[in-house]
């Protein structure tokens, strides 16, 4: 093999590897990217059961209920137009409270309940992530600095 040919082969291999990686990435992205929904969006778009998504809104007043085991909570997420019941097993972030912003990561079960394995909550005013602020359509600033993990990740 001449040097020129070898160079060509190497360049081709590199292109194949990069294109392969891009294809692999794109196909994995299609299955694995978690989209963001408000309760109204979720009902309108009929999110498939079991698909990983994020649900954002306000924790409805008076909706947080702790189960007998002391570590499972139920609450309702609302966006003013619609509501979704959420269940979460784990330690909630400190600033997770009623009438406050929340983003839950998880999936819908067959009964239309949202099973969260992660809760992101409003934090202090100084660190404002544009994502949450934008998502909540709210003027007050929010943060995800406080985050609680539920289940295995």
């Amino acid at each position: 093999m001449k040097a020129k040919h070898q160079r060509l082969v190497l360049a081709l291999l590199a292109v194949v590897a990069i294109v392969g990686a891009a294809l692999l990435a794109m196909s994995a992205l299609k299955d694995q990217a978690a989209y963001f929904y408000t309760p109204a969006d979720a009902h309108r778009d009929k999110v498939p059961v079991g698909q990983a998504v994020r649900l954002g809104g306000m924790v409805a007043g008076g909706s947080i209920k702790r189960a007998a085991d002391g570590v499972t909570i139920d609450f309702t997420v609302t966006d003013g137009k619609d509501t979704v019941p959420v269940v979460f097993r784990g330690i909630t972030p400190d600033l997770f409270k009623e009438n406050s912003g929340v983003v839950a990561e998880g999936r819908f079960d067959a009964t239309g309940r949202f099973v969260a394995d992660n809760i992101l909550a409003k934090h202090d005013e100084r660190y404002m992530p544009p994502q949450v602020a934008g998502e909540m359509h709210k003027s007050e600033s929010l943060d995800t600095g406080a985050k609680a993990k539920g289940g295995r990740t």
């Binding site: 291999l13 590199a14 002391g70 100084r126 992530p129 990740t153």
Partner: protein, 641 residues
Amino acid sequence: MIAEAGLAALWLAAALAALQFAIGALGLTRGREAMLLSVRPVAMVQAVLAALAFLCLIVVFVRVDLSVALVAANDHSAKPLMYRFAGAWGNHEGSMLMWVTILAAAGGAVALFERRLDERTLVATLAAQAFIGLGFYAFLLFASNPFSRLFPVPAEGQGLNPLLQDPGLAFHPPTLYIGYVGLSVAFSFAVGALVTRDVGAAFARAMRPWVLGAWIFLTLGITAGSYWAYYELGWGGWWFWDPVENASLMPWLAATALLHSVTVLATRDGLRAWTVMLAVVAFSMSMVGTFLVRSGILTSVHAFAVDPRRGSFILALLVLYIGGALALFALRVGTVREGSRFDPVSREGALVVNNLLLSAILGVVLIGTLYPLGAEAVTGEKLSVGPPYFNAAAGPLALILVAVMAAGPLMRWRRDELRNLVGRLALPVLLVALALLGLVLLAPPIGIFPLLGLILAAGVAAASVAPLWKRNLRRTPLFTYGMVISHLGIAVALAGMASETAFIKETLVAARVGETQTVGPWTLRFNGVKPVAGPNWTAIEATLTATRGGGRPYLLTTQARSFWTPPTETNEAAIQTVWDGQLYVVLGKGSDDGRWQLRLWWKPFVTLIWAGGGLVAFGGFLTLVGRVRRERRAARAEAWA
């Protein structure tokens, strides 16, 4: 006064960077000897001035000079001395000043120590380094001035994000930044060599120690950051595929590829254009990372402030530098002579596969990190890409890469026979088979990825020490030991990751004081809770006693802390390290019926992850010392001859 001195030093450093670029460029184009000779001292003085500016910032932070806006926003007189000191870079402006200081220091170090590179290439390199510096000085001075004054002077500062009030802040950011920004030297070398058409083995031998140095710090910084996140956040994880973590991983992947290809170029004079390309890509990834972390487009504890102007500024710098370097590469790549040839089955061939796989992983991580930003910009749709994607897409590639890593060092340069390689790999392959058999027979059923990880770790650990087999250990060069130890470190870290994933045990309960809980082989008694106070926080502290079998008891204390400047709550996990893993306990909330939420984890051999990272960096250090020593000796021998 000190703030003004710092600002003046910063302006002077920027002016010197302009001078350094100008005389370098003029000296090269006009061929003025005096100009070429003055580039080195200018680079050194620029480094000293930048360091002086950074020192001034540290002083105003330590003295809590609240008339400086940055200090008022991030400092507090009640903070312990260490966090007033390290807090200087626990914010946007301060961390950018540290970035620029390291950039200037790296240029100064090249000017001071680099003796073997062709003098014209060196001048071009320092001019390129100064040109990068100019953009970031402008960013600091016009969009992120750390020294701007505040009037009226507030009575007290607003304090530092409590998550950052940890010894990790003194270690992780400087280490990571030295690695991140140290890669700028490789970038400037590549640009310099393209300008003077000097790409070859000698150039690679000169560049290698600089790449290695940056890579060691990057490895240490990532390892330290992972452990910090693990114990500070209280989520029990050691890698979250957070965009900010990816921002540090991407330069590491590129630098690792560069480290291997620069060896091919230095030893065999092959892969010329590719190595230059990787040097450009590695620092480009550092700059992309800086953009992601510092522009405020990401949601993270690292994103200190949101200011769209800063984002556009860094983006413009990115386009200028990466685009400029790629354009130069495209123009000059034709003049890079072809390197020497090699067989597909050879050390070079294995290193090419290593490079392709590392590049593919880099691509996968880059796409996953940028996709949410792109999707939001184009369609307005908000989405997040998390561990499921990265594990599925990067995991298999990483496992193949590790398998190739086992075989590569056992192959000969230029040409090898597959038959001989199989013979050399017999023992590792036998170990893999034994590990597989043992795991299938003895261990509870585990997932396919952890299973593959564990058996590969066993095989790679054996294969990585195989290059020492039948060698005179005393005459084996230090850099061979370095490679062996780094590769062994990868196997150790992989074993830790796979073991933690496969055998982790978790218990989540609401417990009363006096009750006992079990997690894995451990029994934990909940002794009680009490309030405690620190210098700028109060906390509820829970204590537990852990025992395993009839072994000695361990006392664990975990706190839920409330800081008052700024008001934030954090969880301080209780972590007990034993020889075969860690117990990890987090205290949650109390309820009216006297129960407390407790989350207990038993993580077998999780510590191997960071021990492996440390080994990888240590191996790099040995290699660096070995290389520098050998070249010193060669230079001395030349001088005698």
